[in-house]
């Protein structure tokens, strides 16, 4: 199924570049899903595809249809806004659920409260005296 729209050369270069860039970034993010060893590390990886990968492929789609129909076609921006807004919400809900489950079952790999608190203590604060 090798076919493509008949675009002028500048639009073809831009569309090809953005599509390939977006697909590569999405694949890099998905490979992080395979390679990272902990759920709390893994949850960061696919966001690469949902922000930059989605934006690149939809920008390519906007350029392609604007050139084909010789008028500005920007309805793809709906998907960009929607996906960029909803990904942090879903992943925060998911991590909160995972943290609740891990703490209730006392799994070893949970980031503990003391480790998080120590990460926020700076040196210039007065010590406990």
């Amino acid at each position: 199924m090798i076919e493509a729209p008949d675009l002028p050369i500048w639009a073809a270069i831009l569309v090809g570049l953005f599509v390939l860039l977006g697909a590569s970034i999405t694949l890099i993010g998905a490979l992080g899903l395979l390679r990272l060893d902990n759920f709390y590390k893994r949850v960061h990886a696919p966001t690469l595809g949902t922000t930059l990968g989605t934006a690149s492929i939809l920008i390519a789609s906007m350029i392609c249809f604007s050139t084909l129909q010789t008028r500005p076609v920007v309805h793809e921006i709906l998907i960009i806004i929607f996906v960029t807004l909803t990904t942090p919400i879903t992943l925060m809900l998911l991590v909160r659920a995972a943290l609740y489950r891990d703490r209730s079952e006392q799994v070893e790999t949970v980031p503990s409260d003391t480790a998080i608190a120590e990460a926020f203590i700076t040196d210039d604060e007065p010590s406990s005296n």
Binding site: I2, A4, L7, A30, P46, S61
Partner: protein, 93 residues
């Protein structure tokens, strides 16, 4: 000539997106716990949506845009419902 190269580039991008969906499917099948499987399903939804948009670029029809928008909406709703189920044990309280 430029059309042929563009067709090759778009097909290559579709192969890359299919590999990304394969990574999501691996996480669904092999995830150690339920939250890993939900994360893999979210990644699979995003890959499918992007694959549909590249089909839209390839054929030059705006028909595929509506499908991609619906996949984005339902992926969000599904992941939120599953996260809420993992948290509480029920979806609607």
């Amino acid at each position: 000539m430029s059309t042929f190269i563009l067709a090759l580039v778009i097909t290559g991008a579709q192969v890359l997106l299919a590999l990304a969906m394969g990574c999501g499917a691996f996480r669904i099948l092999r995830g150690p716990r339920a939250q890993d499987r939900v994360l893999g399903m979210d990644s699979l939804y995003i890959g499918g949506m992007l694959l549909l948009i590249t089909y839209g670029i390839q054929t030059g029809r705006t028909l595929y845009f509506e499908g991609a928008l619906i996949i984005a909406l339902l992926g969000f709703a599904g992941t939120v419902a599953l996260a809420k189920f993992l948290m509480r044990g029920e979806v609607v309280e």
